[in-house]
């Protein structure tokens, strides 16, 4: 009887431990990639890591790390969360633009840095104006995911990725041109 009573907590501890271990393994194998996807959208390594951690925390709250859909979920959530941050950035952008000359003065080539920053801003704004699926296709593929991985993350057939990607590339170029001329 005593042995039975003790067996339950031990079993639970083991279960919790194995869940934590599974999450740690998932984190270690996917963190760099998830942060990379966010960085591709945000062009800001610090903010990208914030997003990656937020994505993992949310995943851990919702799902088991051993779920077969875990990597696909993380990739998609990273792209969408980062894109949402860009969409919500407008107010902050004004502040950053006001600070830009001050920051640029500390760099080796202020003019070049300013231009690079402005180009990135225009591209990210254009990316955020695309519909969610094309934007995610571009970001995931540019982050090094295979067609199959992009398809899994977005829940579409692998055969559709080539077409989606080509259309999204054309759409982004058009948006960037539009954004630059505004």
């Amino acid at each position: 009887m005593a042995a039975n009573l003790e067996a339950v907590p031990e079993g639970r501890t083991r279960l919790v431990k194995s869940r934590e271990e599974a999450f740690e393994a998932l984190f270690k194998s996917e963190y760099a990639r998830v942060a990379g996807i966010a960085n591709r959208v945000l062009a800001d390594p610090h903010e990208a890591e914030d997003v990656a951690q937020e994505v993992f925390i949310n995943f851990h709250r919702l799902h088991s790390a051993s779920a077969p859909f875990a990597p696909a979920w993380l990739h998609r959530a990273a792209a969408h969360t980062a894109l949402n941050r860009v969409r919500g950035r407008r107010r902050r952008e004004k502040r950053e633009l006001a600070q830009a000359p001050e920051e640029a003065s500390r760099t080796v080539d202020p003019q070049q840095m300013l231009e690079v920053g402005e180009d990135r801003r225009v591209v990210r704004a254009a990316l955020a104006r695309l519909a969610p699926k094309p934007a995610a296709v571009l970001v995931l593929r540019a982050s090094g995911l295979s067609y199959a991985e992009v398809a899994q993350a977005l829940g579409v057939g692998t055969g559709q990725i080539g077409t989606l990607l080509r259309r999204a590339e054309a759409a982004l170029r058009k948006e960037v041109t539009r954004g630059s001329s505004i």
Partner: protein, 356 residues
């Protein structure tokens, strides 16, 4: 072709070599692809995985919740959700009130009743007339398989015999063991609520103060078709609304038992609440056997309802006015529901093919 030139077959290559149209199209696509690769260049990222993991570990503990959010659960919709929840409790009370034979309600069939937003608001005031406590908390859980759901609910998960060919093969299972709520009428609280709203709400009948209604719901299993997991963005403000392709639910029929309150008292009381539409009052009065009828509130401004036969029993099909979605509810031992952004005819077909 641009990403993987080796993917071309020899016949494709031959065609390409002689087709100016294909060559021009390829040149355009390749140009787009190269331009986008440059546009999406990002600064170097060298993540410190170990310290990032420590930060994530120190985040608040995990707790189970549904892996997706319906539009109704978004923060901006909270008041509406609270209203609907309150209305659900109120309707359980209404159901009991009309169980004029025994203080026991255990539905065996379904009946639609028309409700307006004003009705919901009026009925939801009822929830202010007492205290709702859960003697057994509802504990819905997302599980990985039908077997896990069955272990929680204690009955076999419903299996769809017919599904439209376009339906997703991904099913998210959720299950909930039995939950028990106790609603205790409180004269003091009722008076305060009435005073706060400024409405002249009816006084609680004598002897009703302190009386209890026990509402038992579940166990239940819900199956959600669609890529809900993949699309449940981690950002609550996401603009992506994840609409399930189909939801199938099975639950033990709810039961309401009453102590002290006579059904006549409750019936009179509910019908005296100001603001209830004549249609709702008439529909409630017209219910044939209230002890065994589950009332399905149909918001008449937004939805329509029709009677259908499902698996040989009477069911209620509800559709929104735009034709974008429909659902069917029926009782055959348990309460079943099939809901989705589909035509009513499809939903009924799925319902008829359900094996439980």
């Amino acid at each position: 072709m641009f990403d993987d030139p080796d993917a071309l077959t020899s016949s494709d290559r031959q065609h390409y070599a002689g087709c100016a149209g294909c060559q021009a199209r390829y040149a355009g696509m390749a140009d787009d692809a190269r331009a986008v690769a440059t546009l999406l260049a990002a600064p170097d990222l060298q993540p410190d995985v170990a310290s990032a993991f420590k930060r994530v570990q120190s985040a608040p503990a995990a707790k189970p919740r549904f892996g997706f959010s319906l539009p109704i659960l978004r923060p901006s919709s909270r008041p509406m959700f609270v209203g609907v929840a309150a209305a659900a409790v109120a309707l359980a009370v209404v159901a009991t009130a009309f169980a004029n034979v025994l203080p026991l309600f255990q539905p065996k069939t379904v009946e639609p009743v028309p409700v307006t937003v004003a009705d919901i608001q009026s009925l939801s005031a009822l929830s202010e007339y007492g205290t709702l406590t859960w003697s057994t908390q509802p504990q819905p859980k997302i599980v990985l398989s039908a077997a896990d759901a069955e272990a929680i609910a204690g009955f076999k998960a419903p299996a769809a015999g017919y599904l439209p060919s376009t339906m997703s093969k991904t099913i998210t299972y959720a299950a909930m063991p039995k939950a028990v709520a106790v609603f205790t009428f409180d004269a003091g609280k009722a008076a305060t609520a009435a005073a706060q709203t400024g409405q002249s709400l009816p006084k609680l009948p004598k002897g009703m103060d302190g009386s209890k209604l026990t509402v038992t719901v579940g166990p239940a299993i819900v199956e959600v078709y669609g890529k809900m997991n993949a699309s449940s963005s981690s950002d609550a403000s996401s603009q992506q609304i994840n609409v399930p392709e189909l939801v199938i639910g099975e639950s033990a029929a709810p039961q309401v038992t009453s102590t002290q309150v006579t059904t006549k008292q409750l019936e009179d009381y509910i019908l005296s609440i100001p603001g209830l539409s004549k249609d709702l009052k008439a529909a409630l009065k017209a219910i044939g056997d209230p002890t065994s009828t589950l009332i399905i509130p149909v918001p008449i401004q937004y939805a329509t309802s029709t009677s259908v036969t499902v698996q040989g029993v009477k069911g209620v099909a509800v559709g929104d006015n735009t034709g974008l979605g429909s659902g069917v509810i029926w009782i055959k031992g348990h309460v079943f529901a099939v809901v989705g952004p589909l035509k009513q005819i499809e939903v009924v077909k799925i319902a008829n093919g359900l094996k439980s």
